[in-house]
């Protein structure tokens, strides 16, 4: 079995409901789309047990009624685990991953500014990357946002 398949097997062994949900996109790329209610436990398992110890960034996506977020986690083996989760656009609440990766702060601020995510547990601080006088409720990377 390849390293990627080993990882998938470990995930399924731990969380039976992931059967069929995890896929190898190509060598060294694993993708898992998961409900947000299960996100936290899988994320913690990937970081602590599967040694995905390097947090690359968060990619935000506007998918009609939902906002999706891909958490890109890397292993020293070169394998990248793309853990994708969705929350409703009406109430896009995420819990911070700063307890796992203090460096995640800036990436979380980015999805707050550009997508309007609400990150619970994000400490007070400067916004990123928009200006301080940016109008409230304007999220430029949402699909319905147009440059005026």
């Amino acid at each position: 079995m390849s390293k990627e398949e080993d990882i998938i097997q470990e995930l399924i062994n731990k969380f039976g409901y992931l059967e069929g949900a995890v896929k190898v996109q190509r060598p060294r790329r694993i993708l898992l789309e998961i409900d947000y209610k299960n996100f936290r436990e899988v994320f913690a398992f990937a970081v602590k047990e599967l040694k995905f110890g390097h947090f690359c960034t968060i990619t935000g996506l506007d998918e009609q009624d939902n906002l999706s977020f891909i958490y890109h986690l890397a292993q020293d083996s070169g394998i990248l685990f793309n853990l994708k989760t969705s929350v409703s656009k009406a109430n896009p609440v995420l819990e911070t991953v700063i307890p796992f990766f203090p460096g995640a702060e800036i990436y979380e601020r980015e999805v707050v500014d550009l997508f309007g995510a609400k990150v619970v547990g994000l400490p007070a601080g400067n916004r990123y990357p928009l200006t301080d006088d940016w109008p409230a409720g304007q999220y430029p990377l949402r699909k319905d946002w147009k440059q005026h």
């Binding site: 996109q25 790329r29 990619t59 996506l61 891909i70 990766f101 203090p102 916004r127 200006t131 990377l141």
Partner: protein, 434 residues
Amino acid sequence: MHNSDKFNIPLGPQHPALKEPEGFSVALKGEKIMGMDIRLGYNHRGIEKACEERTYIQDLYLIERVCGICSHSHSTCFVQAVEEIAGVQVPKRALYIRTLIAELERVHSHLLWLGVAGHEIGFDTLLMYTWRDREIVMDILALLTGNRVNYGINTIGGVRRDISPKQIEEVYKGIKTLEERTRYYIEVATQETTIIKRLSGVGVLSREDALRLDAVGPTARASGVNRDVRRDDPYAAYAEIKFNVITDDHNDVYGRTVVRVKELMESYAIVKQCLKDLPEGPITVKVPRKIPAGEATSRYEAPRGEDLHYVKSNGTEKPERVKVRAPTLANIQAVKHMLKDRYLADMPIVIAAIDPCFSCTDRLVYLSHCEPPKGVKQSQKRDCFASLAMTSRFKNAKVMSWEALRTYSIEWHRVHGIDFSELNNTFRKRLEKR
């Protein structure tokens, strides 16, 4: 602002000690930094949104302009993701050419950094030396791609320019000189007391902190983190190329200097392997303008560290989403940690030591079919324009030599009524009298 015995000093977003706009609010007790707040985003240009409104090929040129120095890094990282979605098999020769340009870019970036680091610690001789030598690699890049920066070598499905045997010879020649010079820089970096004393113990980032804060590139490797995307997640031709990942355990700015100068030698070795093993064959394959629906995440070891691009397509000729994470964003968070309890005077070099990205502009005067200014004697015209035919595209181009540029400038000012020749003569006579 005064708060008991602490002062909060704003530094930036525009400040002489910074090379790019970013805001620091530094809490000082005497000269000691007690903490700081960083405000980024002054360079936000909305490139990700702009990519959604343009075609893939337009995006390639836009993405290349994310950074003035790592331009090839971003364009390659992006194009790899698009090619993965489209299921394109890029010709091997193109992959080798991409790798070659990537390493030349690293050389140009690291030499530039070494100069900036020298400047920040008041060692401007080092700046003059390294930036002079950097011109060799800039000329090689211009020779191979037509541009000093923003090379425009990539296209979806391969590269846009092939390399001729004559160009290969020129690259070997340039690399030989650069190797000699870099050996000297390694000596300077590891033996020169000024450098060792000024940089040791400054901007300390332990291995644990580098891992905890997700530092990347030379910043992480100088803290003993053995990570390099070129080896760990190989792309382009790196899977077939032998090289060492340089690490160092000094955990400070000195270590970051050592890592970068040693990485230069590795880059020369990679360049030589690329030239020696350059496969024959086509340099590009045709890719339809419409990219099928899909998604891909691409990683790339830029000179400053890991680049990450995510591309999602929707079956049209414009992407649904493009995400770019440049290495500075990953490293800037470690800066806060590096500066805690250190002195304010260390700020410029500690910030510079993560090699934050700032735009690098053209310097060369490029004259095509240009006449010398009125008043320049006919006999001077020939010397004035030392012709250097670089590629077939530039066979009519004229590039001025340094001496010609100096003569041209003196003459231009003289014609426009500014003449220092009398003053120069007076100074010369004074010197002769001594």
